[in-house]
């Protein structure tokens, strides 16, 4: 039973790492601001969930596991809000005439 | 493998000098403060890399803990707690000065401020 949990957690950790990597590459490659926000939020939510679940599996039902769960919950709340706030302020800033270079190369 | 042990101190030296270089050459006052921040962060690294003991854990001894656990050295951590707060206080004061200089001189570039003072 130990090995099974180990294998699953390793899969989650590697998967999470992969997702973050993809998000990073996406951040660099994408042309403008909004697509970049999309790529970044991918790394934020997807990657984070996979990594923390992997750690929870490693930690098992201990105090650390509970703490990890709390962190996961916190992340689930904040990262999407952050993505939204960034996009929203980019749009409103453009209306207010601030020189936001959205279409950078 | 033994050389890797000194890597921390090399990074300390490099960061120290990036900070010093930034403070000396960058005329912008805010950039100088950022350079100062890096400079102080390097010193924190120097202190903390002293306290690690192979196989040691954080110096927290819960009640009735076994006697043979190796702990890292708590003293540099205490010193650095103080140094971090000193660093942030200096930065806060520096930034307040930057704001006041901006209002008084209209610019926060050192060379412009000096020239404005000289011909006054």
């Amino acid at each position: 039973m130990e090995q099974v949990i180990d294998i699953i957690s390793w899969i989650c950790l590697l998967g999470g790492a992969l997702v973050v990597l993809i998000g990073g590459i996406g951040l660099v490659r994408f042309p403008d601001l909004f697509t970049r926000i999309h790529a970044a939020s991918l790394a934020d939510s997807g990657g984070a969930i996979l990594v923390i679940v992997g750690c929870m599996l490693q930690a098992g039902l201990t105090l650390a596991g509970v703490k990890l769960a709390a962190i996961l919950l916190f992340l689930l709340f904040t990262s999407p809000t952050a993505g939204y706030a960034l996009a929203h302020s980019a749009i409103t800033a453009k209306d207010d005439g601030l020189d936001v270079d959205i279409e950078s190369d | 493998m033994e050389i890797l042990g000194l890597y921390n101190y090399w990074v300390f030296a490099i960061l120290l000098l990036i900070g010093l270089y930034a403070v000396i050459t960058k005329p912008n006052f805010t950039k100088k403060l950022i350079g100062l921040n890096i400079f102080q962060a390097a010193i924190f690294l120097l202190y903390i890399s002293m306290d690690k003991v192979d196989g040691g854990t954080a110096p927290i001894i819960p009640h009735g803990a076994a006697k043979d656990i190796i702990y890292s050295n708590p003293v540099p951590q205490v010193l650095i707690l103080t140094a971090i707060v000193v660093g942030i206080s200096t930065t806060a004061l520096g930034l307040a000065l930057v704001v006041r200089i901006r209002e008084a001189y209209g610019t926060i570039e050192e060379d412009k401020v000096i020239s404005m003072d000289r011909d006054q």
Partner: protein
Amino acid sequence: MLAAQYPVLPVIVPLLSAPIAALMPNRSLAWIMASLVSALVFATAVALTVIVSAQGMISYEVGGWPAPYGIEVRVDSFSVVMLLVISGASTLALISGKASIDAQIPSDRQPLFFAAWLLALAAYSGIAVAGDAFNIFVFMEISSLAGYVLIANGPDRRALPATFKYLVMGTIGASFYLIGVGLAYMMTGTLNIADLHARLGDVPYLRPILLSAAFVTIGLAVKAAVFPLHVWMPNAYARAPSAVAVFLSACSTKAAVYVMLRFDFMIFGGAFAHHDVQFSTVLMSLALLGMLIGSAVAIYERDVKRMLGYSSVGQIGYILLGASMISLGGVSAGVIHMFNHAMIKGGLFLAMGALVLRLGGGTLDDLKGAGRTMPWTMGAFVLLGLSLIGMPLTAGFISKWYLVQAALDLGTLGIVLIAAILISSLMAVVYIWRVVEVAYFQSPQAGASKHQEAPLMMLVPLWAVVLANVYFGLDPSIPVDLATNAANILLEHAK
């Protein structure tokens, strides 16, 4: 009961009163509190002088923990000299500074100003009595931060960039000191000064200790405005409020020199054989350069406060010159000059404060005819100037006397030192006489006739300093005895 607590009182009392002063409703209440606390610290310093000259060194364990584990406060005659200088300068500046502070600082900012002043006083006293290397760093940071706040309150806008330059250089200096302490801690495992000295002897590797000594000395050289690293000091003192200039000029650079001497003599002195040779050659050359170039630049300076700043660079050179002779006579001459220079330079800045208050500016053109419109203040300025030059009947003469006498024992090198001392004294004659000529021989500018003498609150302390100067010129037994004991302590550690 309280007598046992004297070593720590100069630190804890101002610390307790600073938050209260910050919350004071009006400025005069804050001022009264600051002056009272400062006078109390001065009284404690005098009491400590009596105790130390009777019993020798006092050791006090903060928190009740034994020495290398807890932090130790150590008071010996060297630290007592510093305490007297610090608390004396602060009390003098506060009592006489009321008028100039009211003129230069808006009344709603004054409670904060006096709180910062008390913190600076507590921090400098903390440095003077500290026995733990890291503790000195913490108090040095408090004193620097409080110093930046005090200087940033300067009347005109040039105070801000001056404070910023002082902040950047001061922080770099303090950080270098921190690195030095860190390296020493890395090689010995302790932070207590006496313990460091004991354990440095048997450290296998020499190089980290050399590096630590270099970092500590350079860091403190920046804080002490030693010659090449002094660029922040003239501007900082010139642009600060006059009362602050009196306080800081008397003790901020001296506290750094005090720490440097304690470190180089008491810790690195005994550690490795040729340290004192390295130490004296480097410092002596810096001191000589500082004396000559500092005084030379002071001659061409139009703003009198900046001129006094550059002259301070020269005077710090004297102190270091004395210390770098590594002889009983030399080190005691350096410590005596620390005491005398604080008195002289504090008095000069006090006189400048009165002149700036009445004439509106500190440049030579503003001082035209000041000799007639403000005879008492200008009279005091001239007498203190004579003391700076080292004329007999003044305290400056005594320090010059002991310095030259100590230099004589060094043979031919001594001759070079004496030549340097005398040349820089003559340069001092030139830049003091420039002010006298402007004040007495040129007619005041148009519309200057309305100036009247400085307020009595400033004149009485000013002339108290002048009389103290003459008294210590005639009967220097107190500072000389303290300085000789201090030199003994420093040197017998260095062997």
